[in-house]
């Protein structure tokens, strides 16, 4: 038994349990936070009745969703339709495995951590396409088509921005990248890459002003129009968990991960630094959502292909040249 406790397997199982518990709680908290933030931005107060400050509101909503009937449209694809919500949630969970919460709080500190997280987040689009296609609904299909085009367009500048950081550190390992920011965070060295990353991450997670795949005023609810009950709930949870992942990656790549600014950690534990920075970034993403209207589909594409990709390429080339010269 002792050897099992020390084995990699044990570490993995404990890690998975923690990840599952944390991702669910985090998503519930983020939904509450979003509603509170939206409320205060919009001259309202948001949820306040269920539990202290309405904290239990999302749990109540979750119970309601679990209790609802799972309706499958008659003309839907019977195999793909129930699988899509599960598919959308899986890659998001994998992301947690390599996130560097604190120096020793990484479930698997892989040497390809950055690659793994983006490889799996690219998988989400497949699930969205499956969901939209299998619903056999025109709005859902339109949403799915938009989503695919958008994800393809925004993954390129996103990865190019990440690549310029990877070039500087010479590693794809999260812990190495974070350690390299001991003195100066990369956001000060690579401000363009950081900005591109944040914009593309918002688009990747289908958040406003890039929420065209589920633009409620155009496509009703986009790709998840036909999903009900907890199937819809999974899409919903995946969106918020995804938001956490992209913010956490941004924290590790550009904002010094578990470290305080300029080498001062002020005696605050690493995990607190990490989570605090992540939630501040999430707050910014929410703030943007409740302030801006939505872009049109072709304008969104133009922004990526004509502006973001050339800019991120130029940034990458400049980074490479500067690194070569130093």
């Amino acid at each position: 038994m002792g050897s099992f406790m020390a084995s990699e397997w044990f570490r993995l199982i404990v890690g998975l349990v923690i990840v599952l518990a944390f991702s669910q709680l985090n998503a519930l908290f983020l939904v509450w936070l979003e509603r509170k933030v939206a409320g205060h931005i919009q001259l309202r107060i948001g949820p306040k009745e269920v539990g202290p400050f309405g904290l239990l509101q999302t749990i109540a909503d979750g119970i309601k969703l679990v209790g609802k009937e799972l309706i499958t449209p008659r003309s839907a694809d019977n195999k793909l339709f129930p699988v899509a919500p599960v598919l959308v949630f899986m890659p998001v969970l994998v992301g947690f495995l390599v996130l560097p919460f604190a120096p020793h709080l990484i479930i698997r500190d892989m040497n390809v951590g950055v690659l793994l997280i983006f490889a799996f987040s690219a998988f989400t689009v497949l699930a969205i396409l499956a969901g939209g296609w299998s619903s056999n609904n025109k709005y859902a299909l339109l949403g799915a088509i938009r989503s695919v085009a958008q994800n393809v367009a925004y993954e390129i500048p996103l990865l190019l921005a990440v690549l310029s950081v990877v070039l500087m550190v010479n590693s794809l390992q999260f812990s190495e990248i974070v350690k390299a920011q001991g003195r100066v965070w990369f956001v000060f060295v690579q401000p363009v890459a950081a900005l591109i990353y944040l914009i593309c991450a918002t688009a990747e997670t289908n958040r406003a002003p890039f929420d065209i795949p589920e633009a409620e005023s155009e496509l009703v609810a986009g790709f998840h129009t036909e999903f009900s009950g907890m199937r819809f709930g999974l899409f919903f949870l995946a969106e918020y968990t995804n938001m956490f992942i992209v913010s956490a990656v941004a924290t590790s790549l550009f904002f010094g991960g578990w470290q305080g600014p300029f080498g001062f950690d002020l005696g605050i534990p690493g995990i607190v630094w990490f989570l605090a920075k992540t939630y501040v970034l999430i707050f910014v993403i929410m703030w943007v959502r409740w302030t801006f209207p939505r872009l049109r589909f072709d304008q969104l594409m133009n922004l990526s292909w004509k502006f973001m990709i050339p800019l991120s390429l130029a940034n990458l080339i400049v980074t490479a040249i500067v690194l070569k010269l130093i």
Binding site: A38, I41, Q42, L43, R44, K138, Y139, L142, A208, P209, D211, I212, A215, E216, S217, E218, L219, V220, W290, T291, F292, P293, R294, L295, R296, F297, D298, Q299
Partner: protein
């Protein structure tokens, strides 16, 4: 006319049924869109889901009994419709209205116009995906509803006007509240401009989107802010002044391109002009003189003949056409509503645009479906 970016191939076209239950059709409008990808090949609005037979109802009740119906056609500018109907019947039967009542009506009508434009502003930005301005606009609109609630006893379907005046006098508190509201609204305009008008995404979503040409507008009979956005300064309040509008100093805001951005700017500027009218009316309103001409019989019998009366509602030229055979009931009661003409310009304008633009254009035209269906 905007040309489609990619020439549509007929066999790739599919039909999307936008509505009657859709978040952005503002009521029960159904638009059949023939789509090629996301491009619209053909748009066909389908009407009639909210038909209640108001015109027929007008024929089997007395003139006075028809008053509540008028505020239920365009429920967002109910008081303007009341006002128009009262004016039409007063013109028909030759009824005198006390001066104070005229001022009260004008103030309330302009307040109602502002509330209608505020609601449009909020819902339009919501159509474009910005949720927050909606609640700011509703916060302001709530003040108008409170003010009108005090004097009319109702928040939406007012039935406030009577033939020969209004049903209830206004008090000092009403005047104070109105003054406070005007100041408050003016201070809020800068918020609106910072949040929406200057927003780069908003400008990109509206500039050169849904351009209505002046000629097109004439052909379809487009009126109201939509027509003024094309650069034609047509406003019934100026062209055929009724009530006291010839005595007030106000301008008709116009646009140049006739696109969604112009329609937006025209409506926002119109709110400011309404504020000016209300201020002048508040300053000039006589203290006494009665609010209702009490000599009007409740079973009014206008002389045999017909009357046509046009006024400017929040959405454009609205008109009542009444025919009397000398009985207490109108022989025929027809209402010309602006949304019907404004909506049908969509058929031309939507061709070649994208689905997202269709929502933007539909919103920018500001239709109220129950007004069309009556």
């Amino acid at each position: 006319m905007p040309k489609p970016i990619a020439p549509p191939a007929v066999d790739r076209v599919y039909t999307l049924n936008l509505g009657p239950q859709h978040p952005s059709t503002h009521g029960v409008l159904r638009v059949l869109l023939d789509l090629d990808g996301e491009f619209i090949v053909k748009a066909d609005p389908v009407l009639g889901y909210g038909h209640r037979g108001h015109e027929k109802m007008g024929e089997n009740r007395t003139y006075k009994q028809f008053m509540p119906n008028t505020s239920r056609m365009d429920y967002l500018s109910g008081l303007l419709f009341n006002h128009g109907f009262a004016l039409a019947v007063e013109k028909f039967a030759g009824i005198d209205v006390p001066l104070r009542a005229k001022y009260i009506r004008t103030i309330c009508a302009e307040l109602n116009r502002i509330s209608s434009h505020l609601l449009w502003f909020g819902t339009y930005v919501m159509d474009l995906g910005g949720f927050t301005p909606f609640l700011y606009a509703f916060d302001d609109r709530e003040n108008i509803l409170d003010i009108l609630d005090r004097v009319t006893g109702s928040r939406l379907t007012y039935s406030y006007c009577r033939f020969g005046g209004v049903c209830q006098d206004v008090d000092e508190t009403f005047l104070e509240m109105t003054k406070t509201f005007i100041d408050r609204l003016r201070s809020r305009f800068s918020d609106y401009h910072n949040l929406v008008t200057k927003n780069i995404i908003f400008i990109h979503r509206t500039r050169n989107v849904g351009v209505i040409h002046p000629e097109q507008a004439r052909q379809f009979g487009v009126t109201g802010p939509n027509l003024r956005a094309c650069g034609i300064p047509f406003d019934v309040r100026k062209m055929e002044p009724y009530e006291l509008y010839d005595q007030f100093d106000f301008e008709i805001p116009t646009g140049t391109n006739g696109d969604a951005l112009d329609r937006y700017n025209v409506r926002l500027e119109e709110m400011e002009q309404s504020c000016r009218i209300i201020e002048q009316a508040l300053a000039r309103m006589p203290k006494g003189g009665g609010y209702l001409n009490r000599s009007v019989s409740s079973r009014l019998t206008p002389p045999k003949g017909e009357v046509y009366f046009a006024f400017e509602s929040a959405r454009g030229l609205t008109a009542y056409y009444l025919v009397s055979d000398g009985s207490p009931h109108p022989y025929r009661c027809h209402i010309r509503v602006p949304s019907f003409s404004n909506l049908h310009v969509l058929v031309d304008v939507l061709r070649g645009t994208m689905v997202a633009d269709a929502i933007s254009i539909l919103g920018s035209i500001d239709v109220v479906i129950p007004e069309i269906d009556r």
